[in-house]
């Protein structure tokens, strides 16, 4: 049979973000496939070397668009580790609330995003409408809907506005009451199950080979491999939550885990609002202008659990006013590049967008 070359993206409705998969197909089966990244390459790692430690706070959220707060968190964690800054207790809890809200919004987007590849657009519309309410809460807390620049070295930029707790709780209760509807619409929908059950498998060996983290890893290994549990940051060790796991990873399992994690996020935020102490939210990092602030020399790596997996920064300082080098580990780098090359072949054309979607691939963080 003749081999045809097909492009999935960059301009394609089935593609999330701006990247391209080159697929060589025979009939309906993909024989070879390669990801062509770089369409969102902005040279962040270079740009950060040209800006001061404080200036970079405005730059970093833009590395990963759907979930920018993880960037701010790892960047702040790295600086705090290098400069030995002690973060006020309240700031830790606020950070946790922000990170979990961001995880909720990213999960809602990804969970509704299943509407694209499968054609169930209603799920997408509903999920986006719910996600919009999170963005409104973010706007009230931080002043911006998407890029918050809220978590800074030494704490958070400012305290939570008065009365926001009730708004968050209202939203969470409402979302919790609506989540079963999503379960009926997506997870229990026979036509969706026909597409996802026993399809797009991710065995545990492949997870270890590629270095897949996050939901992909937990759905295959059955272990609680979550950085929030394994190496806790913020105050995750003080709240009580479960990490959903599974031992058989198909597209359906990964979606189900995403769905269950939303409940856990709601749970964490509720506990955090309950247990949050008062006090200061930001420690002073420097005397005088923060723009001339020097961070002690050192090399440190920090990672947090983003909605797609381990998200980390490797920061090198030579004691100057600007970072010497920052390397970004995008959570979807392994499955996005090596995974597409090695494990997408063998699937059908129909499954390619679904493969991309349920593996949790976010192109801006691959390209940087």
């Amino acid at each position: 049979m003749k081999e045809i070359k097909l492009f999935l993206g960059p301009q394609h409705p089935g593609m999330h973000g701006n990247a391209s998969v080159h697929m060589y197909v025979e009939g309906d089966i993909i024989k070879r496939s390669y990801l062509l990244p770089g369409m969102l390459h902005r040279g962040f790692e270079k740009s950060m070397e040209r800006r001061t430690w404080m200036n970079n706070i405005a730059l970093i959220p833009r590395i990963c668009v759907p979930e920018p707060d993880t960037n701010e968190m790892v960047y702040a964690m790295n600086i705090e580790a290098l400069a030995k800054i002690k973060v006020p207790e309240r700031a830790h809890w606020i950070r946790m609330i922000i990170l979990e809200l961001a995880r909720l919004s990213a999960h809602l987007m990804a969970f509704g995003g299943i509407g694209g590849p499968t054609g169930l657009y209603t799920a997408m519309y509903w999920a986006q409408a719910d996600r919009d309410r999170i963005l409104t809460i973010f706007e009230e807390i931080t002043g911006h809907r998407v890029y918050h620049m809220y978590i800074v070295a030494g704490g958070v930029r400012k305290d939570l506005p008065k009365g926001i707790e009730n708004k968050i709780l209202d939203f969470l209760n409402d979302l919790e009451s609506r989540l079963p509807e999503y379960e009926d619409l997506v997870l229990n929908n026979p036509t969706v199950r026909a597409r996802t059950v026993d399809n797009i498998l991710l065995p545990a060996e492949v997870v270890w080979e590629l270095g897949v983290t996050g939901i992909g890893m937990r759905s295959a290994t059955g272990q609680e491999y979550d950085i929030r549990k394994v190496a806790p940051y913020a105050r995750y060790e003080k709240v009580d939550f479960k990490v959903p796991t599974a031992t058989y990873s198909d597209a359906q399992t990964r979606m189900t885990l995403k769905y269950q994690e939303m409940y856990q996020s709601i749970n964490i935020i509720k506990q955090a609002i309950d247990m949050m102490p008062g006090g200061k939210v930001r420690a002073k990092v420097a005397d005088g202008s923060a723009l001339r602030w020097r961070v002690p020399a050192g090399q440190v790596y920090s990672a947090v659990e983003a909605s797609r997996g381990e998200y980390g920064y490797y920061t090198v300082s030579d004691g100057n006013t600007m970072p010497y080098r920052v390397a970004v580990r995008g959570a979807s780098f392994p499955q996005g590049l090596l995974g597409v090359e090695k494990y997408m072949p063998g699937h059908r054309i129909d499954d390619a967008p679904l493969w991309f979607d349920t593996m949790g691939i976010c192109s801006p963080e691959i390209d940087r």
């Binding site: 089935g14 054609g119 519309y125 929908n189 036509t191 026909a194 059908r348 129909d350 390619a352």
Partner: protein, 301 residues
């Protein structure tokens, strides 16, 4: 003769105006289903005329000719339809005429989009033809049962027979299994989910439509409206007893079409192999059961 032609054009005009408005209304209803406001009811007219006002791109004469053939074939088919007792060619509304005339339009479309040379269009056409094989067989078995039971294949006669004593003589009541099968086939014909496989925007970027823009796209949209009109009218005539008044026709048409679209918006799309497996498993079994009931037990006659 003159009245016949005038009636034909009248039916064409009615078909276009009604189906296009309904499409707009449908978009509004779907919008409400998805918790938003939705466009104005005449949005579909705007879209079609906008597309016609743009320049087109050609990919060779097969591409252009195929579009004309598709639109012409479908328009010819519409003119043969009996609507509310009006018919351009009385006595020539045999069911099989529609089966064959409809194929002319579809083939024109297939020819044209393959002529564009885009591999996605080729895949789309292949899927469309495969899907056609899927839904035509159960549909035909049910229709043959009806024709056998009523001893006629003329649409207007079939409608007249069903109108004999109200709702009890509708094929919907007399052959409920067949109606369900035909409705599932109708979903496939209309390209509603879960049988949307051949356009599948997220997989093959709208399949056969991938290379059309401007005028050709406008013509194809008109063709799509006509094709929808034919398919839904066939269903209404064959199973809901046709209609004697315009209002009755519109009401039945509305219910059939909107129901299909609501079903479509709560489901995901099948893969093409799943489509065929589904059609050859469930509807074909039901269709054979229905045919056996009609032929051997005489139920539903």
């Amino acid at each position: 003769m003159i009245t016949g032609i005038l009636t034909g054009f009248g039916i064409l005009l009615f078909a276009f105006v009604w189906q296009t408005s309904l499409d707009g209304i449908n978009r509004k209803i779907v919008g409400r289903f998805q918790k938003r406001i939705g466009p104005k009811w005449y949005q579909q007219f705007r879209d079609i005329f906008k597309a016609l006002s743009k320049t087109g791109v050609t990919h060779g004469w097969v591409f252009d000719f195929g579009v004309m053939m598709a639109l012409g074939g479908i328009m010819a088919t519409v003119m043969f339809l009996p609507v509310v007792g009006y018919s351009a060619f009385p006595g020539m509304d045999n069911f099989f005429i529609f089966v064959y005339l409809l194929a002319v339009g579809m083939l024109g479309m297939a020819m044209s989009s393959v002529g564009s040379g885009n591999p996605l269009a080729g895949i789309g056409v292949m899927r469309a033809l495969t899907q056609m094989v899927g839904y035509e067989v159960p549909f035909m078995i049910v229709i043959l049962g009806i024709i056998f039971g009523h001893n006629t294949s003329s649409l207007s006669e079939l409608a007249a027979i069903q109108q004999a004593s109200g709702i009890m003589t509708w094929n919907l009541v007399k052959m409920p299994i067949g109606t369900v099968v035909a409705y599932i086939s109708l979903l496939g014909m209309l390209g509603k989910k879960p049988f949307e496989t051949f356009i599948a925007p997220a997989e093959i970027a709208s399949g056969p439509m991938v290379e059309y823009g401007g005028k050709q796209l406008g013509m194809l949209m008109i063709m799509h409206e006509f094709a929808t009109f034919i398919e839904v009218t066939l269903f209404v005539t064959l199973f809901l007893g046709g209609a004697t008044t315009l209002f009755g026709f519109i009401a039945k048409y509305f219910v059939v079409y909107i129901l299909a679209s609501l079903i479509s918006n709560a489901l995901a799309r099948f893969k093409i192999d799943q489509v065929i497996k589904f059609y050859y498993k469930v509807p074909i079994t039901l269709a054979i059961v229905q045919a056996l009931m009609v032929v051997f037990l005489g139920w539903g006659v």
